[in-house]
Every structure is written in C-alpha cells, then in structure tokens.
Subunit: 153 residues, 2 copies
C-alpha cells in the first residue's frame, strides 16, 4: 500500500516533465500562430522555411528532403505533403537530382526568399510577448538540447 503510493507519486512527477514538454510545445506554437497567419504559414511550414533560409546563406547546394528531415526530425510521410503545400504557395520548388534520381532537391523561389524579410521580426516579437528572462531562455535551450541528445542516443 505504502509502496504503491510511492510509485504513483514518482510516476506523476516524472510524467509532469513529459506533459510539460508537450504542453509548452503546443503553447509556443499557439503563440506563433497570430504572427504566422499574416504569412499564410503553419508552424511546421515556418520551421521548413527557416531551414531553407539558413541553407540559402551557407550552402550553394540546396538540401534534399532527406537532409531537411534529418534537421527537423521529420520523415517523408510528414514532409512530402507539407512541401507540396509550400510549392502550391509558390515559396519553394522541388527538383529530382539528375545524378541520383531517388533524391529530391529543394529550392527557394524569389517569393520564398522575399518572405524572409517579412519573418525577421517574429522571434523578437515573441520573446517580448512571453516576457521571459533572456538568460533563462538560453539556459532552457541548452538543457533541452542536452535532453534531446540523450533521447536520441
């Protein structure tokens, strides 16, 4: 009886971490929504655009679906329809690689590149809205990064 109670509370405490991750993640996504609506993007679509914008700066070669999925931890079952929607929006293009026909390379259209300017204000605006301490947010980021590494190993 006493043992069972102990197990239950331990379970609940540990559980609250996973639930808090789940609840915080959804809550942050909700906070993004009013900022992303004017761009016509969902949150996962916004993450894809962020990766493509970063790649656009750093690499001459554009990423494949595989490389994008590796960065975002999403598979083709999620990305294929999402990327088709971004293509419908005129933000990206998709090209089969000529040297390996299995791969699909992504590219930003002119509008896709241009949207970056309209997105630049978003992170700051969100940080202001939460009113959280910046050092606290950086510390949290570091800890979550460590946790993610542990979960993936």
């Amino acid at each position: 009886m006493k043992g069972e109670q102990g197990n239950d509370s331990q379970l609940a405490l540990d559980n609250q971490l996973c639930f808090l991750l789940y609840a915080c993640s959804r809550s942050v996504i909700k906070a993004y929504k009013p900022l992303l609506d004017p761009l016509g993007l969902t949150y996962p679509q916004y993450l894809v655009m962020l990766v493509l914008w970063e790649w656009h700066d750093e690499a001459p070669q554009l990423p494949t679906v595989k490389a994008l999925g590796s960065r975002l931890r999403l598979d083709s079952g999620t990305l294929t329809p999402l990327l088709k929607r971004l293509q419908q929006l005129g933000l990206i293009g998709r090209q089969r690689a000529s040297n390996d026909e299995r791969q699909v390379h992504l590219e930003l259209t002119r509008e896709g590149v241009a949207m970056r300017d309209r997105a630049r204000h978003i992170p700051q605006q969100l940080a202001c809205e939460t009113g959280a301490d910046l050092n606290e947010l950086v510390s949290l980021r570091t800890r979550l990064n460590t946790l993610l590494q542990q979960l993936e190993s």
Copy 2:
C-alpha cells in the same frame, strides 16, 4: 547588412528554443511508444488515463470533458474522438450529467482502473532509459512550468 545579420542570428537562437521544445516533445513521445504499445494506448490517451487515475484517488465526483480538457489544455475537438476510442477499448464510460445535460462526466471501468497496475512501471523505466540526472529533470520541469505560466498569462 550588419543589422540584418544580427536579426537573423537572434531569430535563429530564439527559434531553437521553440524548435527544441517541439523536437523534445516528439522525441519523448516516441520514447513512450514501446512502453505504451503493450497497453494499446497512444500517448495522448495515456495522458487522459493518468488524469482519470489521479481523479479516481482524490475526488468522488468524476471529471467532465471540460475539466479534463482544462487539465490537459485540449479542447472537445480533440478529446471527443479520443474519449470515444477509450470507450471502445472498454477503459472508460461517458455519462451525461442529469443536473446539466450539456456536461459529460467520465468514469473508469473496472478494466480502466486495472490498467493502472500495468502502467506503474512506465515512468521509472523511461527515466532509466534516458540516463538523465534526476535533479536535472526536476529543474527542467520547474523551468518549463514557469514558461508555461508565462505563455498562458
């Protein structure tokens, strides 16, 4: 030009927190999967069962869909079909309240109560698998709780 670069990196940093929340949350849910599969539960269904098990201990009156949604930050659009599945599985019952016909009260079936014994080992097992420091996890939980409060205010 320099200003734009500064905005971009600031954006990327802040973004990594929201992305890490998103990635960690999904990664933790994946880690739960092999432990929940034997119970035939998905992760959101498991969260619902956790709330009902807690209520079962503490309150004589069973929660409504509204109260459950308030606890999990989920609305009826998500919960109604999920609860119907739990009912199909024979784990819960749903009863219209007689004093207010708009409300639906939830109850655990005998099997729903019994499943708790088969779920008790899950949190410990998961904590062991991640190999994370317990104090670290508690600290992270506290910080996420603070963040969630800020996001919801």
